[in-house]
């Protein structure tokens, strides 16, 4: 196995808030191989965005305390000098943010914004950078790439803007691409175009991708490996087939059961009600002792749920390259919400 592009170990983020310290990320570990896509799934407040912002040093220093290790091609991002981090953002790691409407500067042309990124990381003259920018826009499938260089963000549609943001993120051929809800604001048809694009570029360049989303449908299509976050912790991870077809953690099962599913048509003309996860996620300022999910858990029953935090333990075979792991005391895998795929034995 080749060396991983990104190796995160025991990442913890504590934010200072008016209501006291908030433990937003609590011991996250994962690795992303070359050409591999890791999907980080979770609801709002689960810490998924903060966990990647912390990696790239994008959290305000006075407020956030980040500990752990995050090796990008062997170099620790968390202890890196700011000047070195500046060099790494770009050729090392590119980032695509959620909202294509706000992540571009409205008063600069598309061309200037791409050229800026290219010239910041290489000794390239303006004309060459512009040619490279046009090339990139062509690669991401923007019609009339040369003409687009002189246009302003407001002249483009949401899907086109997101392509521009992706072009900027890819402009220095990063080893790692971080996409934070990159297609959430887009229509499904445009989302399909963007996903195809990222997959194609990934296949060509071997980019490692961290794809943050709450859409399990998107995950099923793109991910090699899935990491489910809840209350700042990884509660389940494994290959996309393991996690989505045979979910073990009650939260993962709840999430899947709550999805209206086009592939699960009505039985006898009656569409059953969706399974729901009662209650709301815990506030990061006030995480429960013991298992983070137990206050909402439909199958809690183990004496340890309330007091002892379950470790991320391997389910099934530990010999495979990507073992399926879950952090739960729940061993009875047949009760609770049903898996939509009916994958429980």
């Amino acid at each position: 196995m080749t060396a991983p592009v990104l190796e995160v170990e025991d990442l913890r983020v504590r934010l200072r808030t008016p209501r006291g310290p908030a433990d937003v990320v609590n011991g996250l570990s994962y690795r992303v191989g070359a050409g591999e896509t890791v999907a980080v799934v979770g609801e709002s407040g689960s810490g998924k965005s903060v966990s990647v912002l912390a990696l790239l040093g994008l959290l305000p220093a006075g407020i956030a305390t980040v500990t752990g290790r995050a090796l990008l091609q062997g170099e620790d991002l968390l202890t890196m000098a700011p000047e070195r981090l500046r060099q790494v953002r770009g050729p090392g790691a590119g980032m695509v943010f959620q909202d294509p409407m706000t992540s571009l500067n409205p008063v600069l042309t598309i061309g200037r914004q791409i050229v800026e990124g290219i010239r910041a990381h290489g000794d390239v003259d303006k004309a060459a950078a512009r040619r490279r920018a046009a090339e990139l826009l062509g690669e991401v499938g923007l019609p009339d790439p040369v003409g687009a260089l002189d246009r302003y963000p407001h002249e483009l549609s949401g899907g086109m803007r997101q392509r521009v943001v992706i072009a900027i993120a890819l402009s220095n051929s990063p080893a790692l691409l971080v996409a934070d809800e990159a297609t959430t604001a887009l229509d499904v048809t445009v989302q399909a175009q963007i996903i195809d694009l990222v997959e194609k570029l990934q296949a060509e360049r071997g980019t490692g991708v961290v794809w943050i989303t709450h859409d399990l449908g998107v995950v099923a299509g793109i991910a090699d490996r899935v990491l489910v976050m809840y209350g700042g912790r990884c509660v389940e991870d494994g290959t996309v087939d393991d996690v989505l077809e045979n979910p073990v953690h009650p939260y993962t099962r709840g999430l899947l059961g709550a999805l209206p599913d086009l592939a699960r048509p009505a039985v006898g003309g009656v569409v059953p009600d969706l399974a729901t996860v009662p209650g709301v996620p815990p506030a990061p300022t006030d995480l429960p002792a013991g298992c983070v999910f137990w206050p909402r858990c439909p199958v809690r029953g183990d004496a340890r749920c309330e007091t002892e935090q379950p470790p991320l333990a391997v389910i099934g075979s530990a010999d495979v390259r990507l073992p399926h792991r879950a952090a739960t005391w729940c061993t009875d895998r047949t009760s609770g919400t049903e898996s939509p795929a009916g994958g429980f034995r």
């Binding site: 549609s157 048809t189 399990l216 449908g217 989505l244 077809e245 592939a263 048509p265 569409v271």
Partner: protein, 344 residues
């Protein structure tokens, strides 16, 4: 149509003037947000309205409640013509038709308590007069949407998104409406909370015999909650029919592409699936293409599409209609383009 139609639109148009320069400017063009919509919503059904952003689905929802002025066509609610309705009779429509908005953070007044927000429609329409009767009704409404009546004195900021959306639904139900428009009512909620609200809407619809128009871009949710589905593209309904038929056997190439783009949470299905990836973006509603409005992105576009504007025609399952020339010329839209032979 039969007598059980509650809301009926024929050739409904909502055009907005756009562009122009200077003070007292003359509009340079027309933005055709809703452009000739024919739609019947039956009493007691849930009609799902889907389409990409900018297709006019929200404007249509607003127009059905007279929240935006219509510029053409006819619109009736329970047999009454709504175009030109004013004064007391418009107010009565407001009572009988409610709206649940997308953003539960923006659609509640942060300075009013839940009781004030939910009680306002009662006040406006002079229902349940008297402090006691009104408070009882508010408690009843809160209970109906699954909230503890004890929260009546609280303010919106004390609630989560899902709870706020429940308050919004309680407010919409206050006047005992027959018709409820839910415009992207679950779009800003988390998956597990979305499921709670979807279940609530379904329960209320059955319990109160409501007629629902469920506007959403989320096809899975629409398919789950709807009896019938209408698909909108550039201001026009391009396909409508029973949810099952439209969801599994769409007859219009646009619906087929839209459905094929919905990602499903099953890795094996996803790997095997062939997506129909549409090229290009939706044309601007200020410059609607001639003929079929979908032809600029349609993989099957052929000769008549350039000049003939297709009307809805019955195809596929009973009650299913699609606006597509493929059905006039060849049998099925699934046929490859080379199989299409245009009539000379």
């Amino acid at each position: 149509m039969s007598g059980d139609v509650l809301v009926s639109a024929r050739g409904l148009e909502v055009h907005f003037p756009v562009g122009g320069r200077g003070f007292r400017r003359k509009p340079a063009g027309l933005l055709r947000a809703v452009d000739g919509v024919d739609l019947d919503i039956h009493r007691g059904e849930t009609l799902g309205l889907v389409g990409e952003s900018g297709c006019g689905k929200s404007t249509l929802g607003n127009a059905l409640l007279r929240l935006v002025p219509t510029t053409g066509g006819t619109l009736t609610f329970d047999g009454t013509d709504l175009t030109g309705l004013e004064g007391r009779r418009l107010k009565e429509l407001r009572r009988r038709a409610g709206m649940v908005f997308q953003d539960p953070f923006a659609s509640l007044d942060p300075r009013r308590t839940v009781a004030q927000t939910v009680g306002e429609p009662l006040e406006v329409h002079g229902l349940r007069t008297g402090k006691r009767a009104r408070a009882d009704r508010v408690a009843e409404l809160l209970e109906l949407v699954g909230l503890d009546p004890g929260v009546a004195g609280r303010y919106p900021h004390e609630f989560s998104g899902g709870q706020r959306q429940r308050v919004g639904i309680a407010r919409a139900l206050a006047g005992e409406p027959d018709f409820l428009v839910c415009d992207e009512a679950i779009a800003s909620l988390d998956v597990s909370v979305q499921a709670q609200v979807l279940n609530l809407l379904r329960r209320l619809q059955r319990q109160l015999g409501l007629t629902l128009l469920f506007i959403s871009h989320d096809l899975s949710a629409v398919r789950h909650i709807s009896d019938r589905i209408a698909v909108m593209y550039l201001g026009r309904i391009v396909e409508v029919g029973p949810a099952r038929a439209v969801g599994t056997d769409p007859q219009m190439p646009y619906t087929q592409a839209l459905l094929s783009a919905v990602p499903l949470p099953h890795p094996k299905l996803e790997r095997e699936r062939k997506r129909i990836v549409l090229t290009g973006d939706v044309p601007s509603p200020a410059a609607v293409p001639s003929g079929c409005r979908f032809r600029t992105r349609c993989p099957y576009a052929f000769e008549p599409c350039d000049d003939v504007d297709p009307a809805l025609q019955s195809v596929g399952a009973p009650g299913q209609q699609a606006a597509c020339h493929l059905h006039g010329v060849v049998g099925a839209p699934a046929a490859a383009p080379e199989g299409v032979t245009a009539t000379p």
